[in-house]
Amino acid sequence: MFRHEVLISGFGGQGVAVAGRILGRSAVAAGLQATMLPSHGTETRGGYVRSQVVIADDDIDSPLVEKPDIFCALSQAAYTRFAQSAAQGVVLYDPETVATGPAPAARSTAVPARGIALESAGTALAANIVMLGVVLRRLNLFPADYAEQALRELMPRHAESNIRALRAGCAHCPHCAG
């Protein structure tokens, strides 16, 4: 039996909730159990957003992410707030937006997600999906095809560019240290 916890946090408009939703949906499509708790402020843009994703091969008691195996810090504020909780896991951050600061988690791994998104998808908006690709590879629970299918279902108009971002994230993963 296994249980994996993934925390994604940033500010509104970065696709924090979308990334969590695609991760959960693809896990369920792959035959696993998944929960995703989104929390957010009042604003649609800006403000703080968090996705707590739990993936398991059995019923999930608590959907809370208390000790993330993987924490994607998409903003400085998110890093400052949650990096400590991932002390036993790995923190993925974009050095362009997050300075890891004086109290980093045990394993912080830089992923130039914005740059990879611009290169692969032609838009920095896909940085969340690049991170998702890295997360999928790190989890190594199911093929990325399930996430590609989820992207096609949830964002049919922008599926192709996001799939390119996802693949670029997956391809980048082996280069991640830590």
């Binding site: 989104p38 008691d61 608590s62």
Partner: protein, 388 residues
Amino acid sequence: MKTYFDTGNAAMVEAAVIAGCGLFSGYPITPATEIAEHMSRRLPPAGGLYIQAEDETAALHICIGGALGGLKAMTATSGPGYVLYADPYGWAISAEVPLVIVNAQRVGPVSGITGAPGQGEFYLSRYPTHGGNFETIVLAPNSVQEAFTMTVEAFALAERFRTPVTVLADQLVTDGYASFAVPENEEELRALGLQVVPRRAHPGPDFYPACADIDIPPVVLGRGTGAACSDWTPTEEGYDTEDTVEQMRHARRLIYKIRAHRELVDRYDAYGLENDPDIVLVSYGSPSRVVLGAVKEARRQGLSAGCIRLQSLWPFQDELFRRKADYLVVELNADGQLAREVERAARYPVHFMGACGELPSTAELVRAIRRLERGEALPQSTDEREIR
């Protein structure tokens, strides 16, 4: 069964469609707005009506109108809207109008924090209107799948008891994503233990009979039945009366039709009670998910703990708290509402652990169980002498 990965909000809409909901009227509010959004897309193609109201008071009055016109009706809101339902809620209780009311609780009081869960309407759901002289039926889901099943059950109970039924959820249940199964035929519906009770129309003339019976068809106006109803105390024929004997008869029906058939409403789930544990955790809704995980962890660490999760809140299930134990009530408020009710029902010590807007962690709960097992007081308690 068809499996979806979606929110509790979406699950409740699918449930309403299956239950034969013919009218949804509501006013948007986080974290229940998605119910209205999904309803506006799902109901019209299924032959139902979607009406966005100008405010919550109007929304529930519109639902009453639809129900009196022969439609199964539903509305959804959060705490700030639920309190505005007070007037029509009483109307529906007294005129015995079947309705389903969803409250996706967020932290309060008043507007509180929009995107954070709360459990502040435990007592408000018992007394959602003024005047007393009634019982209410309240169900409390803790997962997306239960958001689905309990909404179907709420429609059935509303029809059978001729009363509004509240589904008291919270932001984590309504906004949270998980997979849930939706039955695609009658057989699969029954496999989930669910039934759909069709809407009927009372033929009269005793629209408000002097008895505690259920399964009496509801009052429907305009079908040649000669039915009458209003917000005044009714005679058995539905006419207004100022006779206090009639008032007592009406009050006793509203109370005892529910009290006499509690077995149809009572629902709970328990874990680890078989060896009479020293500490029994009590909760409902989202906190119960963390509580279950914490109790399993505490037992792995050799602590003597079990838990009771209430799936129906009202009428309150006093009998569940007769066993000798220290009860630890965990809820998403700092004032201890469920804790107060457990204190009333239990004959043994009752402790309280409250949180505001954020679930307590597994570690905090296990620590609390350990302290209680050692006979130490908790930092928080409903007993103000123990507040640190």
